[in-house]
Symmetry: C2
Subunit: 203 residues, 2 copies
């Protein structure tokens, strides 16, 4: 590890991390298009050119941010996947964690805010498919595991959007326990694949 007790001398690694952190913040708040390179740089206390110098381009920076975010522990840890009450676990973490600032769910926020950008959506899709989607669907059993896994992610994303971004009062001001009570069976149903009482009658 480098020695950097003083505010900040010249330290490439630390600067890189600072830019990465600033970028994550900015992307989470404004999305890919909304966050400017100069703004990101300012947040890290450097000039815009250093961003390109370290990451090549804004696009590559975005990819690295997503990759780093995906690498950090999320709701879907291997440990959690083994839980027999996975639905409740997901629901509880989703509802609870959402409130904190530096959250594993920041990646979802970034994605939601950046989804309008075609290129950013493409990058994010690969990250999600290689990360969460793959991990989760492989942990599920049943015929439509990929689809069910994708719907788990959809519900997580939608909840985040409505509660965090839109700020729907019914969610934002609700009792977390109530939300968990509603969400848990939903997730559980997706995870199990068989709700016990199918609605439509297949072939």
């Amino acid at each position: 590890m480098q020695t950097n007790p003083p505010p900040r001398r010249r330290n490439a690694a630390a600067t890189r991390e600072a830019i990465l952190a600033s970028a994550r913040r900015a992307f989470a708040q404004a999305g890919y298009d909304g966050a400017g390179v100069r703004e990101i740089a300012a947040g890290a206390g450097v000039t815009a050119m250093l961003v390109n110098r370290y990451f090549g381009s804004k696009e590559q920076l975005f990819a690295e941010v997503l990759a780093a975010t995906a690498a950090s522990p999320t709701i879907l840890t291997r440990e959690n996947l083994k839980s027999p009450r996975l639905g409740e676990t997901i629901a509880a973490m989703l509802v609870d964690i959402t409130k904190t600032a530096d959250t594993p769910l920041e990646g979802f926020l970034i994605m939601m805010n950046s989804a309008s950008s075609k290129r950013a959506a493409e990058i994010g899709r690969e990250q999600i498919e290689e990360g969460h989607q793959k991990l989760l669907s492989s942990a599920l059993s049943g015929e439509l595991a990929p689809q069910r896994a994708a719907l788990v992610l959809s519900l997580v994303a939608g909840f985040q959007v409505m509660r965090q971004m839109i700020g729907l009062s019914a969610l934002a001001e609700a009792d977390p326990a109530d939300l968990v009570k509603i969400l848990a069976p939903l997730f559980q149903q997706l995870v199990d694949g068989e709700p016990g009482s199918p609605v439509s009658s297949p072939d």
Copy 2:
């Protein structure tokens, strides 16, 4: 009211409508920030200045688009709300309608794409709360009706985002019938409030 059934070369009202329609298309596809005034104008066959001339500014145009979209029929018509199988109805319309261009869900797409813009999110929240949220939650019975209604909207939004914007292959390339099969019981459970087989054991 003026009498001008034939498509006159110069027709203010028709031009205004054309701009509005083009704007709705553009906003649904690229979001508030992503859609340019020139692009919107071109879609209506006019120049950019006419947009500002008729609507004052891009922001006012956006507000009008949202207002008009909210006024148009959505999934949650009063007729649908009476269905005993509301869950399946919602799922079917969500999965099916998504593909079409001029969809009642266009409003949701606009919201999701524009949610990164603070002002746009604020406008959208009011629209949702005054429109869908209110309508749906009043049609539901049970203790946590507003929350359950909000979660219906969340799932709709998340599905839209993941399938349309992110383009998650598990959803985008899935058999629509399969998606409906999974989604229907989810929505039904939210609508009913009681899944029949509760997962967690409350007090």
